[in-house]
Symmetry: C2
Subunit: 413 residues, 2 copies
């Protein structure tokens, strides 16, 4: 009864009593045996709420059914279809918990109050109304919530796009005032680089949010990028841990440069890049603002952007993720006449990331030098305060990762 | 525009403009190819709304996943699980319609306003709030609605039990003021008896609602019994038709004895019966009212009931459907001490049905005579104005169907 009255109050000191939100990914929910294991973990570790993904393979199965009929993914029925995968996971985990004497409160997005915009298949969470979840907590129930999905203001189901369940978990933590969100997955944490590419890769124990953001956006697939942004924004302690091991995992923190003298925390690489070159000598409307406004309206995310002169006109180079490449090309073709468009899909982006870069000069130069020694062409460059990224030919990706990891990380051990 | 303004009005003469509700069963939705065929049918025949079941096999797959964890089916997560099957069907048919230029409005139970009680896994529809469906119609959209599911007043998903999609379709027709509901299935209509058991079985072109009720409840699996009750109650013209043929199907009507001189319209048989005998010589609380109130509270549906003296006390015989047998036995064992309980599961019920019986004496006698000639024991008897039903040993079921069909139907051709 004490818990009940504390939870129903809104004073901030009492909100701190809300325990962590757990999130279990598709691999963790992949079989009945694994779901039973997840239920055991919940019984032992007592989260305040659990967010789940679809059983691994299920979303692909559903998407493949849809694609036999139509390639439309910007329509409500597509989101309704894929959302069914999480619904199954929520139900099965709830059954497994009830069997263990825990009363579950199975919740889909409309009940849990996960409001999104109406960009079907790639919706963004606007708000989590935590009321229904809190009511369940007050009743002593454990809310089991479908990740990856939301609901529009007019009641239509949406999906957040791949990996969105991480974001659901963090948004729910924020919505109910939880201070911690633990993402359970099938790896031990965030690695210095992809261990399949580089055998020297090791787990990063503590990583700065900004570094994690760069790692995530640069292709480290452990966490969905938006979940890291939200965790940083809301001050939620985010931890990545392995469902199937006792490893302590990786914890995100706000501390700058956690390990003294370590300039680069990680090497990230991404394969699904596409490089578009667009040039026009005539069209006065063809400028940076117009081009990227139009692409944004179509929901195309652009990464690296460069601009140069082109026969008296303009030339724009940019990269998009490969699934968006065709849409980007068509959009530009329809919008601007006489555009010279080149699409190159055999490229990768490789990045070094680290808050230590802020105080260390010459890191970019060392990266270019390392790539040059390996005879790897640099097609485009992008930099931020804590990252240097290069677009390179895809067949050189593994070679580049290994060389950069050796240069910046293995030697700093 | 004319249609729009007519639909948005509420006057009864204009409500008549609402076309039929179609319902497609699991076999009709069983593959992508079949879903495309269903979309073609909708394009051609222009229903006002479409209700769909899960793809055939899908509900079984989901139930089997659940049963690996737990046998609880009286919990919200069970209903949430099985409801996902219809969600997939709604989504896929919507995609197929949109591809054909029809704008679908995919709807799950909460959006469509299908309110039920909260008897999970066997919920009853209380009401269909047709507002959202009508709004979709006014916008020129075709509502595609998940059958088999509903929502409780406090927003939890429910399922109606097997075959419930027929009931969804009729309730939705009533909710939006449609006059006709066409159930598309994988057979040409309602047969005089099971054609797999009796090769002389033929399609009944017009069947009285009460006859259909008796046929449905006696094991003719073409239509869910509650859908027939609701159609009769609301005066909705109910038609059963084959998705894959041009047969005109079977139409339910209110006309008594549609075919002159035909006393028996059909022979129905059901295999999944269980026979329970309960006797007590001591317990004063053990009486008909108490026994069947307690069983009803547990949601056990009882069919045939007989009562007799038993060693100075009482003996009650009754049948339940086999899946309920264990629950019924346990309930009685817990409630009444010193009860003698016998469960027999190797029984079948066989019934002859026809509105013509009302005016023809001696039909029951002819039935008993026919069974006696076949040396088939009659274990229990149940009668209504338009039906005579007998519980018999299961191994004699096919023999009984063939003999009764020959006696009452084949010869009346």
């Amino acid at each position: 009864m004490a818990t009940k009255s504390m939870l129903s109050s809104n004073s901030s000191s009492q909100i701190n009593t809300i325990g962590p939100v757990f999130k279990f990914g598709g691999t963790s929910m992949g079989t009945i045996e694994r779901i039973e294991h997840v239920a055991e973990l919940c019984l032992k570790l007592k989260p305040s709420a659990v967010v789940v993904s679809a059983m691994s393979g299920e979303t692909n199965r559903l998407v493949s059914l849809a694609s036999e009929i139509s390639n439309r993914i910007d329509v409500p029925e597509y989101d309704m279809l894929v959302a069914s995968g999480e619904q199954v996971s929520v139900s099965l985990l709830s059954l497994a918990l009830r069997k263990r004497g825990i009363e579950p409160c199975p919740m889909l997005a409309p009940t849990a109050g996960i409001l999104t915009d109406s960009q079907f298949s790639r919706a963004s969470i606007l708000k989590v109304k935590g009321d229904a979840i809190k009511t369940a907590l007050e009743k002593g129930q454990l809310p089991i919530i479908a990740g990856f999905q939301g609901v529009t203001e007019d009641g239509r189901l949406t999906s957040l796009g791949r990996g969105g369940s991480d974001t659901s978990a963090v948004a729910i933590a924020a919505g109910i005032g939880a201070k911690e969100c633990i993402i359970y997955t099938d790896v031990d944490g965030v690695f210095t680089t992809d261990p399949r590419i580089c055998k020297d890769a090791r787990i990063i124990r503590t990583i700065n949010y900004e570094e994690m953001l760069e790692m995530a956006s640069q292709g480290s697939k452990v966490l969905h990028i938006r979940s890291v942004q939200l965790a940083a924004k809301w001050g939620i302690r985010l931890v990545v841990r392995n469902t199937f091991s006792n490893d302590e995992g990786t914890e995100m923190s706000t501390i700058d440069s956690p390990i003294e003298g370590e300039v680069v925390s990680g090497v990230a690489a991404t394969q699904n890049e596409a490089w578009i070159q667009a040039g026009s000598s005539k069209n006065p409307k063809f400028n940076l603002a117009n081009v990227f406004t139009i692409l944004a309206q179509k929901g195309v995310n652009v990464d690296i952007i460069t601009q140069s002169e082109h026969e008296g006109g303009m030339k724009i180079n940019f990269t998009v993720s490969q699934p968006d490449a065709k849409l980007a090309m068509e959009t530009l073709k329809n919008e601007f006449k006489d555009l010279k468009l080149i699409l190159r899909e055999d490229v990768s982006k490789i990045s070094i990331v680290g808050v230590g870069m802020r105080t260390h000069a010459g890191v970019a130069a060392r990266m270019f030098q390392t790539l040059a020694e390996q005879n790897i062409d640099i097609l485009l460059v992008t930099t931020s305060e804590i990252k240097v990224g290069c677009l390179i030919p895809r067949e050189k990706m593994n070679q580049a990762v290994q060389a950069l990891h050796k240069e910046f990380i293995s030697f700093s051990l």
